[in-house]
């Protein structure tokens, strides 16, 4: 066994995984069964005891059939001796206890016959499972629904995808809503024809109906879909297909909308997919079953009516019927779309299951979730980080500051088993923590001057508010509420002051920062990829429609309406939908309009609503998580969408719940993260996890942010940076010794080093990619930051040099300071030799220090 795979203890690793004992017992049983000469009940196509099924489960775990002819497919999953769960549906046998209630249409598909209840028994390789089957309203037929029956068909065939008829203006003269989200609009477009226009509600273009009620077979919908006339989307179905029949039947029936007489049509409330998460080996395949939860509380098997798309066909492929095949190792998701809804199923493909998966210790729920997935994917996490690794990492992550050499020695010598937790608490209470997290939040909250169009008199109080919030550990929901609802002068109201002061921009940013959703596309039209509509966008933007900037940096919400850019009409204008030109009342995403009597503090109402949404907590924890792991559980961190699923959905949910239960306490969240074993894993990889970049099986090296890197260089060299403020007149300057992290407005202090290393100007919500570039390399070679600080009199090296310290002593001190570790014997020998071999000892030491500062080990957090 490789050295890095030392025996690791494993505690409870989640409900879905077997305990080591059970695993061994299963192995033993499988061996005994095999030895007894029983028939081979292993998974078809594979041989050997490792694929012998040791337990079964059926999905869904309960079957409910509503209405006459309702049916439900079930899946049978068998956990094999090698730990992998496989689809054994086709190799299983099925029987029903009461054949009057339901029948087996095909193996694995149960159809309703009469009201009642029965049991479905599933057997495979000596294992059996029973599933309750309930049948109700068997005498009734499901009423026709345009959205589900016709719209769902468009969704399955991809007609209403964002790259076709659901694009902004539609295609070929036909406009449809994405995934039949707006069936009434779709109905109108089909019956009347015409094209969508962004800036007006009027229909554009020639209006050609897509159906012909007098000659149904001549309907364009059929002719084009069947490829009988020229169609950009090619043939979507054949003339003898069930899809063609369905549409023809509908047109012949007069093209009803269906459910018109009902106050509220039955819609799909959400989709469920079984199984939600699957691990395949490279020969594996898995059938998916999709069930809809309807708005009337019922369920329906819609597997045959949904669209399946693999997010990465190089990892898994999927058929139209939902059968997924492994292609190569990796991880991806299969997107499932139905009318108005979407869901994903995640897939991992592994090379071969491991023989001896070690037991891994967990420290909290984070570890339980992370290690459960690693177990499923047969990835062994790295070892725990060394004390040196941990100390440097946690100091940088919590304070943006390297640990002093003296503290490193102290920490290494400390034998207290709780020392890591104690250090975490100490760092959380340090003034450097306040500095660092003020910087972090100043970044995301965009404290700036020039790019923000502010004066320092407004931007600085904004920074002060952030700093005070961090210093007093203000709950995150309160921070959000104060920002969203900011009024008056000073503090977060500065955020709303500059530039165009547009409600739509303000709202989009609040949603992106606090709910992790990118709403912008829905400004001009319904969102092309998600289920956000333009009306929802403007309804939410209306909460910012009364905002007004008054003299002396005061922000207020005026009763009569807000102020946009000027021109006649004066102030206090009502807030209008740009397309319909109708006044838009402030409306929450669920369609609820804010009552008039609550509009005096209109943005506070929005703030309360936003912070009460589950999106708020999950977006918050996701962003914070990304600061410690280099990526969010959803990445990018503010781009939650159905096509961008979380890598660990249960972990995300657990973090969000924990965050909320602890009053949105940021320190508690940070402490929970850094106390986990997951966070404290080493960056040294092993054979099983060396390719992993998304499952947290080891620490991923992360480049230091520009500000942190510059401060580190200043700290190591003992030479502070001077920050002159950019100004058109006589400029200001920060006091001597000010660190880059302490700069309030990043764009007010020109600094070539930080620009090269990716400092953002905060003109938009910043995204730092940390990618290395040629300019950085050149700056390292000849840039003034390095050359000046290395050679400056009075710096650390100068002091060491003049103190008469030996080369070994100097090398050791600089290594401790820069890398937070002692140099190895070999490193020391090489460096001493290099220094002694140079004519100028001073220059040699400078070069040595330059080498340290230019190393990846220094410039990265690992």
């Amino acid at each position: 066994m490789p050295a890095e795979m030392r025996n690791l203890r494993r505690d409870r690793v989640g409900a879905r995984s077997c305990s080591a004992f059970a695993w061994m017992l299963a192995m033993a049983l499988a061996s005994v069964a095999s030895a007894a000469g029983k028939p081979d009940t292993s998974v078809s196509g594979s041989a050997g005891p490792l694929k012998r099924v040791t337990s079964l489960r059926v999905l869904p775990a309960e079957v409910t059939l509503w209405g006459g002819k309702a049916s439900q497919r079930v899946l049978v999953l068998g956990r094999c001796a090698d730990g992998v769960e496989r689809d054994v549906t086709l190799q299983s046998s099925f029987s029903l206890a009461d054949s009057l209630v339901a029948e087996l249409e095909t193996p694995g598909r149960v159809r309703a016959l009469a009201d009642g209840q029965t049991l479905l028994k599933v057997e495979h390789s000596g294992q059996s499972v029973e599933v309750r089957v309930l049948v109700a309203e068997s005498k009734l037929s499901r009423p026709f629904s345009f959205q589900r029956d016709i719209g769902g068909l468009f969704t399955k065939l991809g007609c209403n995808a964002s790259d076709c008829h659901a694009s902004v203006k539609g295609k070929g003269g036909l406009k449809l809503s994405l995934n039949a989200l707006f069936p009434r609009e779709d109905y109108r477009w089909i019956l009347e024809g015409g094209s969508f226009q962004v800036l007006t509600a009027a229909v554009g273009g020639e209006q050609i109906p897509r159906i012909d009620l007098k000659e149904p077979e001549s309907s364009l919908l059929l002719l084009k879909g069947a490829g009988l006339v020229s169609h950009g989307g090619k043939r979507r179905f054949s003339v003898d297909s069930v899809h063609y029949e369905t549409i023809l039947k509908w047109v012949k029936a007069g093209a009803p909308f269906g459910e018109e007489n009902q106050e509220k049509a039955v819609q799909i409330a959400r989709l469920e997919v079984f199984p939600r998460e699957t691990v395949l080996d490279t020969e594996g395949k898995q059938q998916l079953v999709v069930r809809s939860q309807l708005s009337n509380g019922r369920v329906e098997d819609v597997t045959d009516q949904v669209q399946f798309v693999s997010n990465n066909p190089e990892v898994v492929s999927v058929t139209q019927d939902g059968l997924v095949f492994a292609v190569r190792t990796g991880e991806t998701a299969v997107m499932i779309r139905a009318a108005g809804q979407a869901v994903t199923a995640t897939f991992g493909v592994i090379a071969r299951p491991l023989d001896n998966y070690p037991r891994i210790e967990t420290r909290n729920f984070i570890d339980e979730h992370v290690f459960a997935k690693l177990l499923k994917f047969n990835v062994i996490p790295s070892e725990l980080s060394s004390d040196e690794e941990f100390l440097r990492r946690v100091c940088l992550d919590l304070t943006g500051t390297l640990p002093p050499p003296s503290r490193l020695a102290e920490f290494l010598a400390n034998k207290d088993p709780q020392k890591r937790d104690k250090l975490i608490d100490l760092l959380l209470d340090s003034p450097e923590y306040i500095d660092y997290w003020t910087f972090r939040f100043s970044d995301i909250f965009r404290v700036a001057v020039y790019v923000a169009g502010l004066s320092a008199k407004a931007s600085q109080p904004y920074w002060e508010w952030i700093r005070n919030s961090i210093a007093e550990n203000k709950p995150y929901d309160r921070i959000a509420m104060e920002r969203i609802s900011a009024q008056g002068a000073g503090g977060p109201s500065a955020h709303f002051m500059p530039g165009e002061f547009l409600p739509e921009s303000n709202m989009s940013e609040e949603v992106r920062v606090f709910l992790g959703r990118r709403f912008d596309c829905a400004q001009c039209h319904n969102h092309p990829y998600e289920t956000w509509s333009q009306d929802q966008f403007w309804g939410l933007a209306a909460f910012f429609g009364r905002m007004t900037q008054m003299a002396d940096f005061v922000v207020a919400d005026t009763p009569g309406g807000g102020f946009g850019k000027g021109g006649s009409g004066g102030p206090g204008r009502p807030f209008l939908h740009p397309r319909t030109k109708m006044e838009v009342p402030p409306t929450f995403l669920d369609g609820t309009v804010l009552p008039e009597d609550k509009r005096r503090d209109i943005r506070m109402e929005l703030a309360k609503w936003m912070t009460s949404q589950p999106y708020f907590a999950e977006a918050g924890v996701n962003r914070m998580w990304s600061y410690f792991f280099g990526r969010g559980i959803v990445q990018p961190v503010d781009d939650f969408r159905s096509t961008n699923p979380p890598t660990h959905p249960e972990l995300l949910e657990a973090l969000a719940i924990d965050f909320k239960q602890h009053g949105f306490d940021l320190k508690h969240l940070i402490r929970t993260i850094v106390q986990s074993r997951t966070y404290q894993l080493s960056s040294v990889v092993n054979e099983t996890n060396k390719e992993d970049v998304i499952n947290y099986s080891h620490s991923l090296p992360r480049p230091l942010d520009a500000e942190v890197l510059l401060d580190a260089i200043s700290q190591i060299t003992g030479v502070s940076e001077v920050f002159n403020r950019m100004s058109s007149g006589a400029g200001g300057r920060e006091p001597r010794g000010t660190r880059a992290l302490e700069l309030k407005e990043s764009d007010a202090y020109p600094c070539r080093f930080m620009e090269i290393y990716g400092r953002t100007d905060r003109a938009m919500v910043p995204e730092r990619d940390g990618k290395a570039n040629l300019q950085q390399a050149l700056h390292m070679l000849a840039g003034v930051t390095y050359t000046d600080k290395l050679s400056r009199d009075g710096g650390r090296l100068d002091g060491l040099f003049k103190s008469g310290a030996s080369n070994a002593k100097i090398v050791e001190e600089l290594c401790l300071a820069a890398l937070s570790r002692y140099p190895s014997e070999e490193e020391l020998a090489v460096m001493e030799k290099m220094i002694e071999g140079r004519p100028s000892r001073r220059e040699a030491l400078e070069d040595m220090l330059w080498g340290l500062l230019g190393s990846r080990e220094f410039a990265y957090n690992h």
Binding site: G488, T548, A551, D552, V554, P571, R600, S727, A730, A748
Partner: protein
């Protein structure tokens, strides 16, 4: 003899900022055109000074100042440093006092020095811009200090006891420096034993003052550091400050006292301002307004009713025989306006407090979101003026909003003035302390007072709202110049801006008295500047006065005697209506000197 330079002497800097009353202390000033300065002029008897030394500023110093100075301070021809001795008496009023130097080229602009009750210590000469070099202070302390370089910070240390509450203030004179205050705990951190932990910070006491103030109760005793810096480290040139640290509620400090207050104005000259939220609205305001119009003997004038409703028929002239001259029959003077305190609850219009006009309402936005509602009646066409005073908190902390509504609750007018500005398409809104409105119909109306936001409120958000009949009058009169150095044979312009309020349509006579012998004052015309296109404004007549500019030329003709010390000339104005003159009211006193055209000549 060569012609003298047209450049006037100018003071740019002084240090220290002041001293204790009843003592003598030295002040160093810099500027230009100060060569040969021979007198210190304060205009006040119990504050005098004399010149001790004058020296030229060395070239390298000139260079430093040039690179850091503003355009005004940049010395084109060189600069001087003058050492003064200032003498105060026990009668000298504490507070800010102006002083000038008298030079061969005339009198300088004014700088401010502070006279304090308590002793003042000086900043130590050694650099103390690092925590370890902090200057120790004994409390209470008043320190004269200066910042010279961008980014400079002066550190001071003090010992505080557990539970002690201290007030720390820093102020400066003029607008060159915007000082900041930071309080630190110097006990270090895990990373750095010398690390300062910031406890408190202040940049501005209020939006319109440049001083900073902290009040802090110390949870534990020990050594603490106070740092004085400049906002964003901006130090254009050497700038003086005073730092005061004292126990709260001690004799020399209170939590409401500002470090820099203005001395009482000379009684003969009143500063009239209708556009300030802190001008006091007194019960005798009507009498003050009538002084700024004309009394016409024999003419019956409309009544000013004091019973229910307003009875003034039109913007009227003051009552015959009434007036403000001493000795007049007080029975014929305009009445004092009654003061009424608001009573809660009065948030909703249905709870509006009934009021009779004219009156002064005293109230407070007691909590965030509080609204005070009042209802009143008017008869006929009434022109009413609403004036607001917010003595404790002002914009941008308290942005008061008062609205006039009709009986149905529709807003008719509000004190928020809206106009286009910036690059022509940005709406600018500002709360205004004065609003005039013409009620065209009689009936019941309502007033609502609140903050512009729903976030502000508290015991300091008090207001006084004056509601009175409009009275046409001359508003603020401002003289732009603060001195006049006349060269014999040449003229000097004084620019006077006159505001006419509430429909005043009479004339305004401007004259200057107390000029040196031989100096004459003439009216002068000026070419009207070409203005850009007018930007949209919403009802400017409700918020803004009409303005006129008057140019006066002071001329010292040939043969005018030269002056050694300035004469204090007084600019007055007098309303004229229908040919009838009103009272003479003072505007400003300006020192005037007459100087020779020849640079090197004696001035007297």
């Amino acid at each position: 003899m060569p012609e003298a330079s047209a450049e006037e002497p100018l003071l740019t800097f002084s240090f220290p900022l002041g001293g204790q009353k009843g003592t003598k202390f030295e002040i160093e000033v810099t500027g230009r055109g100060l060569t040969g300065a021979y007198a210190v002029w304060t205009g006040v008897e119990d504050l005098t000074g004399r010149i001790l030394k004058i020296e030229e500023i060395k070239p390298e110093e000139k260079k430093i100042e040039a690179s850091q100075a503003t355009a005004e301070a940049k010395p084109p021809g060189g600069g001087q440093r003058v050492l003064l001795e200032v003498v105060t008496s026990s009668l000298t009023l504490p507070g800010a006092h102006d002083f000038r130097l008298v030079c061969p080229r005339g009198i300088t602009n004014a700088l401010t020095l502070q006279v304090s009750e308590q002793p003042v210590v000086s900043e130590k000469a050694e650099v103390h811009d690092q925590p370890e070099w902090a200057q120790a202070l004994d409390l209470p302390a008043l320190v004269n200090g200066q910042l010279k370089e961008p980014g400079e910070v002066d550190y001071y240390s003090l010992e505080a006891s557990s539970g002690q509450e201290l007030v720390m203030e820093v102020g400066c004179a003029g607008r060159k420096l915007n000082p900041t205050l930071t309080l630190f705990d110097p006990s270090g951190s895990w990373f750095d034993p010398k690390r300062l932990k910031r406890i408190a910070f202040n940049d501005d006491v209020s939006y319109r003052t440049r001083g900073s103030k902290l009040i802090h109760r110390f949870a534990s005793g020990g050594k603490y550091l106070v740092a004085v810096g400049a906002f964003v480290g901006l130090v254009e040139s050497a700038s003086s400050y005073q730092l005061r640290i004292a126990p709260v509620n001690s004799v020399s400090s209170s939590d409401t006292e500002q470090l820099f207050t203005e001395t009482p104005a000379r009684p003969e000259t009143t500063r009239w301002n209708e556009r300030s939220f802190v001008r006091p609205l007194r019960a005798d305001i009507l009498r003050e307004l009538w002084r700024r119009n004309v009394q016409v003997p024999g003419k019956e004038l409309p009544q000013v009713a004091t019973s229910a409703g307003i009875a003034v028929e039109s913007p009227g002239l003051p009552r015959r025989g009434t007036g403000l001259q001493d000795g007049e029959n007080p029975a014929l003077s305009p009445p004092l306006i009654s003061v009424l305190k608001e009573k809660e609850p009065n948030d909703a219009l249905a709870q509006a407090m009934e009021i009779n006009l004219p009156l002064i309402l005293e109230g407070a936005i007691a909590t965030a979101g509080d609204v005070d509602s009042f209802s009143f009646s008017v008869r006929g066409a009434q022109a009413v003026a609403f004036e607001l005073e917010t003595p404790l908190e002002t914009p941008n902390r308290f942005n008061p909003r008062f609205a006039i509504l009709d009986a149905a609750g529709r807003e008719l007018a509000v004190n928020i003035y809206s106009r286009l500005g910036g690059d022509g398409d940005d709406w600018l809104l500002s709360p205004e302390p004065k609003l005039t409105y013409l009620f065209e119909r009689d009936g019941k109306y309502q007033l609502q007072v609140s903050d512009s936001t729903v976030r502000r409120g508290g015991s300091r958000f008090v207001y006084r709202l004056l509601v009175r009949p409009q009275i046409a009058h001359v508003g603020a009169v401002e003289v732009l110049e603060d001195r006049a150095n006349l060269i014999v044979g040449k003229a000097k312009k004084l620019t006077v801006i006159v505001e006419q309020e509430e429909g005043y349509s009479g004339d305004v006579l401007i004259d200057v008295e107390g000029l040196p012998p031989g100096v004459k004052c003439f009216a002068a015309a000026e070419v009207e500047p070409v203005l850009g296109p007018a930007l949209e404004k919403i009802h400017p007549e409700r918020y803004l006065p009409k303005k006129q500019k008057v140019n006066l030329m002071l001329m010292a003709q040939e043969g005018t005697p030269l002056t050694r010390l300035p004469s204090l000339a007084r600019v007055n104005f007098r309303p004229i209506v229908g040919g009838n003159p009103g009272q003479i009211l003072g505007v400003k006193e300006i020192p005037v000197m007459v100087l020779s055209a020849h640079k090197d000549s004696e001035t007297f």
